[in-house]
């Protein structure tokens, strides 16, 4: 049965999250371990291994970041890939300086966002992340933003804020109209 026809789902197939949904998010760690988390480390453009992000985390972020940054994220394929590689390297570097606890919490969230059926139930995205449409990802972000459950609103804030912090702190992403950059610094 297609999720649209199941009771409790809205037209996008997003479970109107109640205790079940937030319980899923809380229980993410257990679920992740039952399914055997992928531990394969993705590589950056410079083929350095990532410090914190796992391959599935990179897949999810690669789908979400261009939607969060819509309008400013490059659309031409080569430029887009380059921007994505840089973004993943930069967010990995920032996360590497947070805490082991934060690494664990993020991994739990990404586990849920990666696996089925939790991904579909929590986000309304039933396809693989690589195949999800921009509209579906935007709808998921809006659902989390406007959720009556703080866990989802917190997830939205974390995903959108981390993405913006990393992207707009990188000099490559400034345009002359947005920010001319700091003075030139020649270390003493």
């Amino acid at each position: 049965m297609h999720p649209d026809t199941l009771p409790g789902f809205n037209r996008r197939g997003f479970l109107k999250l109640g205790l079940v949904g937030s319980g899923l998010l809380l229980g993410a760690g257990l679920l992740g371990s039952l399914h055997g988390c992928a531990t394969h480390q993705p590589k950056t453009a410079s083929s350095q291994p990532m410090k914190v992000l796992r391959e599935k985390d990179a897949v999810i972020l690669s789908a979400i970041a261009p939607v969060v940054l819509k309008g400013n994220f490059p659309t031409e394929p080569a430029a887009r890939q380059q921007a994505l590689d840089r973004f993943l390297t930069d967010i990995d570097e920032l996360l590497a300086h947070t805490s082991e606890y934060a690494h664990g919490e993020l991994a739990k969230m990404f586990d849920l966002l990666y696996l089925m059926p939790t991904r579909g139930l929590m986000t309304g995205i039933w396809s693989d992340w690589q195949d999800a449409s921009e509209e579906d990802i935007d709808a998921f972000l809006v659902d989390w933003r406007d959720s009556s459950f703080n866990l989802f609103r917190m997830g939205y804030a974390q995903l959108s804020q981390l993405t913006c912090l990393v992207y707009y702190s990188a000099p490559e992403n400034w345009t002359a109209e947005m920010y001319p950059g700091p003075p030139q610094h020649i270390p003493g």
């Binding site: 819509k70 805490s99 707009y168 700091p182 003075p183």
Partner: protein, 536 residues
């Protein structure tokens, strides 16, 4: 890029190291380290730096301990990308447990003074009176504190900013002027400031008189030692006497323990590690707490904000970040009435504005693309002066590191809503084309009436509104009553010998102003007394 070039700045840290300062970098330790001294000071921010200089000058042997890295003007390249992960607690991702607050706190030798925006206010007389009358503090009258503020103002070159404010700050003075509201110039702790605007990423010219370039070099020149990349794990407690501290060496990522340990034995221990890490250290150490006061009443100066777009360039990323403030709404409803607040503006670098601004997608991108035309206004809400403002509480996470719970209630929401109203009004009075409350679904309105209506209808639930904090205070409150306080009016821990806490964590409420000078003044007096006792 700005056409200013910063070069040939003498690097006083590297010069000091070359001159033979005694320092130990935990990240590169090859074996465990044991040190001994008269006084170990845990934390090198406003409290720790001030204490280190005073005690060293009194002839005591001092060791300073810092979790973060030792950086200097050569490292401070004004890039947010590097500064946030390197110089801020948890790489700028520190938050309250429900995610409601983003907490900006420094993590480097010099603590938050390395990255603060230099605003230097004496503790308001209303706050001092409230502490004296309600919390029973001794020695905190305005007259008793004045000489200590005066001393630290001279030490750190605190003066009202004499250069015209940047356009971002001018919006606050112009708007207030049009509306007949109070505004004034902010005193700053700078010497030879270049008016660049990058206080928040570490001062590249050494103009900011942070602990990193003042008291800490003075202490090191006087023979004190510095251990950095070292996280205080537990106080060494024997027979109700604190005998020093055990630390874990921390790797260069600021996260992982290297496995090496640093044991520092001391006649006396001073904690100056802030309102979150400090209570956590006491909890990890099983310090006696018969009345369950450790980590309670942690205050944050909750900060809501509004964004405004103007028809002319403001370029709020350049120029002294904070030079104008308004106290119009700070005390007018009484010290203990509805929550009062101070209005200021922040620096407008893109990573900070994009993140704090909330939102995603095309509207968010459209907003950040107008960055040169944007003004942000902030209100620092004065928490802790009312029965319904008990602040937060610190406990330990599963990994032994601190967690802060700070419940949001209607008393606070009322303050947030009033602050949003007044800030929007000031921005429109200064000529804003449109104003937007910072909120997950906050929209721009082009009239004051419309934005006020929007603000009235906003759902101020956690993680819908965005609240920030750059001021962590309390958690180890001062007071003479052991049932309600952790330390006495001089910062001595009530339930153990050999331990003082000398930093913003001992404030019994928030301040009602950016807290650094409150810490300097209070700590300079308490550290002087402690030194006299230890020398006796």
């Amino acid at each position: 890029m700005s056409n200013i070039i910063i070069k040939d700045i003498p690097d006083i840290i590297r010069q000091g190291l070359a001159s033979g300062w005694k320092t130990h970098n935990g990240a590169t330790l090859e074996q465990d380290l044991t040190l001994a001294c008269d006084v170990v000071i845990i934390g090198t921010g406003a409290g720790g730096g001030t204490t280190a200089e005073i005690l060293t000058q009194m002839g005591l042997s001092v060791i300073m301990v810092e979790e973060g890295p030792l950086r200097s003007s050569s490292d401070f390249d004004m890039q947010e990308k590097r500064a946030y992960s390197d110089l801020y607690q948890e790489g700028l991702t520190r938050a309250t447990s429900d995610g409601a607050f983003t907490i900006m706190q420094g993590r480097a030798v010099g603590g938050t003074t390395v990255v603060n925006w230099t605003s230097s206010f004496r503790t308001p007389p209303q706050t001092l009176r409230y502490w004296t009358e309600t919390h029973g503090l001794k020695g905190f009258t305005e007259a008793e504190m004045a000489p200590w503020f005066d001393k630290m103002e001279r030490r750190l070159n605190v003066e009202k900013w004499a250069i015209p404010p940047n356009a971002n700050n001018s919006i606050l003075s112009e708007g207030c002027e049009k509306l007949g509201l109070h505004w004034a110039v902010i005193p700053r702790n700078v010497k030879g400031c270049w008016n660049l605007g990058y206080c928040g990423t570490g001062c590249p010219t050494n103009a900011k008189q942070s602990m990193l370039v003042t008291t800490i070099p003075a202490a090191l020149n006087g023979g004190a030692q510095l251990v950095y990349r070292a996280r205080a794990e537990k106080l060494l407690i024997e027979n109700e006497q604190v005998k020093g501290v055990l630390c874990h060496a921390i790797a260069d990522d600021a996260v992982h323990k290297t496995g090496k340990k640093i044991r520092i034995q001391a006649r006396h221990t001073v904690m100056a590690c802030g309102g979150i890490n400090g209570p956590a250290l006491l909890l990890r150490s099983d310090a006696p707490d018969p009345h369950d006061r450790i980590g309670k009443r942690t205050f944050l100066h909750p900060v809501p904000g509004t964004l405004a777009e103007f028809g002319h360039k403001i370029e709020g990323y350049y120029g002294a970040p904070q030079s104008i403030y308004s106290d119009e709404f700070q005390w007018k409803d009484g010290v203990t009435g509805p929550m009062g607040f101070k209005i200021e503006v922040p620096p407008m670098q893109p990573g900070f504005v994009a993140t704090i601004g909330m939102g995603h997608g095309q509207p968010h991108s459209d907003q950040i693309n107008r960055l040169p035309y944007l003004n942000m206004m902030l209100a620092l809400l004065r928490d802790g002066f009312h029965d319904e403002s008990e602040g937060g509480s610190v406990s330990l996470r599963s990994d032994g590191l601190p967690k802060l719970d700070y419940p949001i209630n209607d008393y606070l929401r009322d303050g947030v809503r009033r602050a949003l109203h007044h800030m929007a009004e000031i921005q429109f009075a200064a000529g804003a084309l449109k104003v937007r409350p910072i909120h997950a679904v906050g929209q721009y309105n082009s009239t004051l009436a419309d934005v006020k209506k929007q603000i009235d209808e906003l759902d101020l639930e956690v993680n819908r509104m965005r609240i920030g904090s750059a001021h962590v205070m309390g958690g180890c409150a001062m007071g003479e009553d052991v049932k309600t306080a952790v330390v006495d009016s001089n910062g001595k821990f009530h339930h153990l010998e050999g331990l003082h806490i000398l930093d913003g964590s001992i404030f019994p409420t928030s301040i009602g102003a950016n807290p650094q000078l409150s810490i300097y003044g209070m700590v300079s007096r308490a550290a002087t007394r402690l030194g006299e006792q230890l020398k006796a």
